[in-house]
C-alpha cells in the first residue's frame, strides 16, 4: 500500500498516515496523525484505529514468533493479491512456502 494513494475509503489517507505513525518513532507525527483521523472520520475513530493497530501488532508478533503458515486454501485464494503487493518477498513468507513449495 502506498500511503499517499487514494484508497477509496473515507479517511483512508489519514488512516494510512496514522498506521505508519503509531508503530513508528516520530511522536509529533503521531500526534498530528491522530488529530487528522479525528477530524476526517470522528473522535470515535481514534480508539477504533488504535485497537486495530494494537491487535495486528500483536498478531504479527504471534505469527512470526511461532512461525505459522498460511493454510493452503487461503494461499491459492490470495495468489494474485500477494503477487501485486509483493507479499511473497517478505522473509516470513518462508514459514508458509517451506510447507507448500
Amino acid at each position: 500500500m502506498q500511503p499517499d494513494r487514494d484508497v477509496g475509503v473515507p479517511g483512508g489517507a489519514e488512516l494510512l498516515a496514522f498506521s505508519d505513525a503509531v508503530v513508528g518513532n516520530d511522536r509529533a507525527a503521531l500526534d498530528e496523525a491522530r488529530r487528522a483521523v479525528a477530524a476526517a472520520i470522528g473522535p470515535q475513530a481514534v480508539p477504533a484505529a488504535s485497537a486495530i493497530a494494537a491487535n495486528f501488532s500483536k498478531n504479527d508478533r504471534v505469527a512470526n514468533g511461532c512461525g505459522i503458515p498460511v493454510d493452503e486454501m487461503a494461499l491459492k485464494r490470495t495468489e494474485e493479491i500477494r503477487e501485486q503487493l509483493g507479499l511473497n518477498d517478505y522473509r516470513s513468507a518462508r514459514n508458509t512456502f517451506r510447507h507448500y513449495a
Binding site: A49, S50, R61, A63, G67, D71, R94, N95, H99
Partner: protein
C-alpha cells in the same frame, strides 16, 4: 473508573476492562513463568521499544524488575518487541539452542505480543503507558496438554477438533480455528487471552466472514482493514 479515563477519545468499556484485566493478570503466576518473571518480560519489551524510539517512557521511568531475565530470554523479548519483521526461524532456533523450552518460548511470545498490543493502543489514543503491576505470589502450573503436537508451526500446537479432542473443543469453542488463533495454544492461557483481545479489538470471530460487519461504532470494515493491512505490511508479516 475506566482504565483509560484519561483519554480524550471515547474508549469502549468492554475493551478497557479486558486491557485492565490482562495487565493485572501479570501479577499472577503463568503456566511456565512466575509473576516476577512475566513482569520482567513485559518490562524488557518496553525497554527495547524505548531504546528504538517506538514508545515513550513514562515520567519517572518504570520500576526495576525483581528478577533478571536470562540472556536468551532477553534476546527473544527485545527482537520480537521491536523488530518482528526480522524474527525468523533462526531466532526461534537460537532460543531453543540457548535453553528455552518450547513451552517457555511460547509463553514469552504471548506476553511480548500482548504487551506490545496494550502499549500500541495507549500510544495510539495518546495516553501514557499503563503502569505494570507489582509481582504477586505463586508458582507456575507447568501443565502441558497431552494433545499438543508438532504441526506446521515452529512450535507444537493443539490441533483443531476432532484431532485436538476435548481440550481443543474447549479452547476453540468447538470450531476449527485458523493458525493465527492456535499459534500459542501450547500455553492455553496465553491462547485464551490472545483470542480475548482479538474478539474485543478486531471483531467477534464468528462474524469474520461477514464483509460489512461493523464492530466499532462509526468505523467501517473497510477502514478496519486499511489499518490492519498497513500495520502488517510494516511488520512484514506474510500471514
Amino acid at each position: 473508573m475506566s482504565f483509560y479515563a484519561d483519554s480524550d477519545y471515547p474508549v469502549r468499556q468492554d475493551l478497557a476492562d479486558i486491557h485492565e484485566a490482562q495487565m493485572s493478570q501479570l501479577s499472577e503466576p503463568g503456566t511456565w513463568g512466575n509473576s516476577a518473571q512475566r513482569i520482567a518480560i513485559a518490562a524488557e519489551a518496553r525497554r527495547a521499544a524505548y531504546d528504538a524510539g517506538q514508545l515513550e517512557a513514562p515520567d519517572g521511568g518504570d520500576p526495576e524488575p525483581e528478577v533478571p531475565l536470562p540472556g536468551v530470554a532477553k534476546g527473544v523479548v527485545r527482537k520480537l518487541a521491536v523488530s518482528p519483521r526480522d524474527f525468523l526461524e533462526d531466532s526461534y532456533r537460537e532460543a531453543r539452542d540457548g535453553g528455552l523450552s518450547d513451552e517457555e518460548y511460547v509463553e514469552i511470545v504471548g506476553i511480548v505480543s500482548r504487551m506490545v498490543d496494550l502499549d500500541v493502543f495507549a500510544r495510539g489514543i495518546g495516553v501514557p503507558l499503563r503502569p505494570l503491576p507489582s509481582p504477586g505470589p505463586g508458582e507456575p502450573s507447568r501443565v502441558r496438554l497431552e494433545t499438543a503436537k508438532q504441526e506446521l508451526a515452529f512450535v507444537p500446537t493443539i490441533p483443531n477438533p476432532p484431532e485436538g479432542g476435548a481440550e481443543a473443543a474447549e479452547l476453540y469453542g468447538g470450531h476449527p480455528m485458523p493458525y493465527i488463533m492456535r499459534a500459542v495454544s501450547l500455553v492455553p492461557d496465553e491462547c485464551r487471552r490472545h483470542v480475548e483481545l482479538e474478539q474485543v479489538q478486531y471483531l467477534p470471530l464468528p462474524n469474520i466472514r461477514i464483509p460489512d460487519y461493523q464492530h466499532h461504532e462509526g468505523f467501517s470494515r473497510s477502514q478496519v482493514e486499511i489499518v490492519a493491512g498497513r500495520v502488517s505490511a510494516l511488520n512484514e508479516c506474510f500471514y
